[in-house]
Structures are given as structure tokens and as C-alpha cells.
Amino acid sequence: MIAHLTASFDFHGQALMLRAERQRVIAGNLANADTPGYQARDFDFASALRAATGSAGAGIASDVMARNGRAAPELRYAVPSQTSLDGNTVDVDRERGTFADNAVKYESTLRFINGSVRTMLDAMKSHHQS
């Protein structure tokens, strides 16, 4: 029973961790916006979440997670929209957009968690009040 109660927390918890991880990757891209030869990186959030929570992709990702206790999505290189002479592929505008987008989605995941906490607490309380 308790496992059923916390199942939705697990899902949103994984999503939150992946959002934080993505935020970190994008912060790294923005930090290296002026570094010669640096190649921008990112990961596909949907497939990373599927690998972290679903049974279909329970390969490497969950192994690493079991070891580190955190998600380890596969990083890919961004396709540069404008090439530069020094080999840097960070598109600052795109990264800033992705950063803002990811921050909003992180917050919405937080609200989902808060919502389910409140729902569960209400379910526990209602018996005493009636």
C-alpha cells in the first residue's frame, strides 16, 4: 500500500533530478560560451526520463543510478546553428532559451510534487475531521 502511495513521488522525483541535471548541463554550456573548441551538450529529456523510470530502457541508466543514486542521462552534442572560427558551438541565445524553459518545467514538477503531497495529506486528514 505504501509503495503505491509513493509511486507517483518516485516518478516526479526522477523527473526533478533529470531537470536539475539538464539545468547543470546548460549552465556548463553557458559558462563555456567563450571557450575555444568547446562543444555544446544536451540530452533528450523524454528518453532520459523513460530510461530512468520505465522498464523498457532499464539498461545502463538505472545501473548508474543504482550506483550513484542519481540519474545519468546520455549526453549528446548540439548541432551548431552558426559555426565560429574557434570551434565553439555554444549558441548563447538558444541555451538561454532552453535554460529558461527547463527552469519553468522544473518548477512545474515541483508543483506536481507539492500537489500530490497535499492530496495525500488531505486524504489522511479527512477521516478525523468528519
Binding site: R24, G28, L30, A31, N32, V117
Partner: protein, 139 residues
């Protein structure tokens, strides 16, 4: 916690960009320096950025910070001006000034300050997200 590491990453970038601003300030301050007795004037300097791993064990491909690896000196010859009455003039009456190009330095300064602002913004966002995370489960 990934969000906490954002402070390291953005912090390293802020520090590197401020070092770049420092070098620009030094170049601009010395833009009109003349050659000393040894005949060589101030040479414009420039920082070289390098990706620095943010210390994630076993994951070298993970997002990383940035650091200043070296500071290079511009070796192009300095600006020479004919002014025989100048105390720093050589035998032919030429004074050698530093090779700083003020226009380049101003552009460099604007670029550095924009990057600095970007990374401060990243830290602010990470900070507000972390504060909201701390409030999980509070009514």
C-alpha cells in the same frame, strides 16, 4: 545535487570573465604607455579560456566549468610616432607606444560583461529553484 553544482560552474565562469575584464582594464590603462629604456613598450594581453572538469567522478563528459589557462601577449610591433622632442624618442626621433588597440579592447570588454551577466543570471535562476525545492511539501 545537480543544482548545487551550477554554482560551481557559473561561479567559475564569472571568475574567468572577471579576469578577462581585468586584463582589458590593464590593456586600456596602458594604451598610451611609451617604450621604456629597453625599447619595448607594454604588450596587449589576452586571456585564453579552457574547459575545466567540474569534478564529477567517472563522468568526464559531464558539464564543466571554465578557467583561464594562460594569458598571452600580443607580439605585433607597437605604434611608432615621430616626435623628436619626446623624452622617450629613439635616435631617429620615433617614440614607440604600446600595441594596444582600444577598439578591440572595448569590444572585448562588452563581450566579457555580457557573458558575466549571463552567468549571474544562471546563478540567480539556480538559487530560486533551490529555494523552491527546499519548500517541497509545505502548505
Amino acid at each position: 545535487m545537480s543544482l548545487l553544482r551550477i554554482f560551481d560552474i557559473a561561479g567559475s565562469a564569472v571568475s574567468a570573465q572577471s579576469q578577462r575584464l581585468n586584463v582589458v582594464a590593464s590593456n586600456l590603462a596602458n594604451a598610451d604607455t611609451v617604450a621604456g629604456p629597453d625599447g619595448s613598450a607594454y604588450k596587449a594581453r589576452q586571456v585564453v579560456f579552457q574547459t575545466a572538469a567540474a569534478g564529477v567522478a567517472g563522468r568526464p563528459d559531464a558539464a564543466a566549468g571554465v578557467r583561464v589557462s594562460t594569458i598571452t601577449e600580443n607580439d605585433s610591433p607597437g605604434r611608432r610616432v615621430h616626435d623628436p622632442r619626446h623624452p622617450g624618442a629613439d635616435a631617429e626621433g620615433y617614440v614607440t607606444y604600446s600595441n594596444v588597440n582600444p577598439v578591440e579592447e572595448m569590444v572585448n570588454m562588452i563581450s566579457a560583461s555580457r557573458s558575466y551577466q549571463n552567468n549571474v543570471e544562471v546563478m540567480n535562476t539556480a538559487r530560486s529553484l533551490l529555494l523552491k525545492t527546499l519548500q517541497i511539501g509545505q502548505a
